[in-house]
Amino acid sequence: MFKFKHEALETNTGLLLVATMMAISVGGLVEIAPLFLIEDTMEKVEGVRPYTPLEQMGRDIYIREGCYTCHSQMVRPFRDEQLRYGHYSLAAESKYDHPFQWGSKRTGPDLARLGGKYSNEWHVQHLIAPRSVVPESVMPNYPWLMENRLNYADIGQRMRALRAVGVPYSINQEEYERNVKDFGPEMAAQFHIPNARESLVAQVRAGNYDGDPSYVSEMDALVAYLQVLGTMVDFSQIKPEELVKFR
């Protein structure tokens, strides 16, 4: 029989490297590969769409400011979480998130179902000075979000990068028309990269998220993003037992 000798590995760097890689990749393969193979990983639900240019900028600010270090975006399927935050998160809901913001630390509450819970005014005030509305809060102040103009010159490039990893933003007429079919004309216009800057400004005008219509602030983008979190899927249209079968 083949007699394995430690020495063979320990004295041969190349072999050691290969064997180490093999050992490490087992963990990854076992956990990740099946998700691509198993048919029922992603729930088939309506309504999930990519972020608009403004929301996407807000999402990038969310990441820049490290909000994810204190906030998760993943309501787990437990009773206490469902009672506090709302319906548990679906895999389908983060299919356009690159990278997803599930997070692993909850110093503050989960934000996966935040959209519509508060008014824009509340978010602005809370982000500038959290303790002015929640006296016992330990969340930091983010006053510069209101002062900083949003730099959206590169929004087209950001969307192109996301398109490269599979988010259906469009760069030509054909892709645009596919989006009209999939997401409706209003959203398809938002997802069209050549018009991204105009769409972004139009959404700020219409939404006036930060209460100051005179300029596009980082606050506008972040609040637009926060207000869309968890609102895309209409759970009143889904039978709970259907979601059970996707696990």
């Binding site: 430690h6 020495e7 320990e10 590969a33 099946p34 193979l37 198993i38 048919e39 029922d40 787990r76 399927p77 437990f78 009773r79 469902q82 506090r84 709302g86 548990y88 519509g116 819970k117 508060y118 008014s119 824009n120 005014e121 509340w122 005030q125 809370h126 509305v133 929640v134 006296p135 209460g211 009143s236 039978k239 709970p240 037992e241 979601l243 059970v244 079968k245 996707f246 696990r247």
Partner: protein
């Protein structure tokens, strides 16, 4: 420390030798540890059989464990164990336990709920939890509100009405208070006169001559304040326009300003700039019908229900 009784053995080595003299000690793990390790492997084998585990092709081993819940048609349905099925069943079990409460609350008219001490005990504890999770960020813990931003729900002063039906309506559909800005329609002097009049209505110090001028303006077509705030300036609950004749201020923190000029400045700011900040989110769809009813009773009994 006691000396080891055993005769010290010569160190065992793995037998590997580097650079001619560099050796590696071999200290085998204790037996109990090794057997513990075998037990965990055995445990994993059992676990694979009972719970969903290995991926196979386009599916996975579902395990022999199952969970039974009630589907939307009211029929019992069984599925292999998973956290979503478990949650569904737990929610249904909990709902069954609370059903007697929620059913009574759903069926009873408000007036009777309030008179039932047992039910009110339930409303107070369930209501407080719901209020803390959903409302306290704005109305503050306990419902005291915040001048300049969010109304106090514990007093008997109501913008949209303090009856059960009105409170319910507020929670279900949300509210949005709007007052137009008057900076362009009125001159600075006119706005100041109106501010003095508004201060006089609330029993605050003011200039009587200016207030008299403001009173005329208030009821004139130029300013048309009366149109929304009413001839008596007591506000209209259908518009959510504030009652200007009481000492309760929501938007301008007049009572905490110490001298007349700063009080006037606060009211001037409101009249000139208008108000578009009063946004109460709608809770229909976010909270269930029963939860909204519990909250309605809870808010009603915070102090000022009518």
């Amino acid at each position: 420390m006691a000396e080891s009784q055993e005769k010290p053995q010569g160190p065992q080595t793995t037998g590997h030798v580097w650079d001619g003299d560099l050796q590696e000690y071999n200290n085998p793990l204790p037996q109990w540890w090794i057997y513990g390790f075998y037990v965990t492997i055995l445990f994993a084998l059992v676990y694979w059989i009972v719970y969903p585990s290995w991926p196979v092709g386009q599916g996975f081993l579902t395990g022999i464990n199952t969970i039974t819940y009630v589907n939307s048609q009211g029929q019992e349905e069984t599925w292999h164990w998973n956290t979503r099925a478990k949650l569904l069943r737990e929610m249904q079990e909990a709902a069954a336990q609370q059903r007697p409460w929620f059913e009574r609350i759903a069926q009873m008219p408000y007036e009777q709920i309030v008179k039932d001490p047992e039910l009110m005990g339930f409303v107070r504890s369930a209501g407080r939890a719901l209020f803390t999770d959903n409302c306290a960020g704005c109305h503050q813990v306990g419902g005291g509100g915040k001048i300049g931003h969010y109304p106090n729900l514990t007093d008997d002063n109501w913008i949209y009405g303090g009856t059960f039906d009105k409170i319910r309506e507020t929670i279900v559909q949300g509210r949005h208070g709007y007052m137009p800005p008057f900076a362009e329609a009125l001159s600075r002097a006119q706005i100041d006169a109106l501010a003095h009049y508004v201060l006089s209505l609330a029993g605050e110090p003011h200039d009587a001559t200016q207030a008299a001028e403001g009173k005329n303006l208030f009821h004139s077509h130029t300013a048309a304040c009366y149109y929304c705030h009413g001839d008596d300036a007591k506000g209209r609950q259908d518009l959510g326009s504030a009652n200007l004749t009481d000492r309760i201020w929501l938007w301008a923190d007049v009572p905490s300003a110490t001298d007349v000029p700063s009080k006037v400045a606060l009211v001037r700011q409101i009249i000139a700039g208008g108000l578009n900040r009063g946004n109460m989110p709608a809770w229909e769809g976010r909270l269930s019908e029963e939860q909204i009813k519990v909250l309605t009773v809870y808010v009603h009994q915070l102090g000022g229900g009518q």
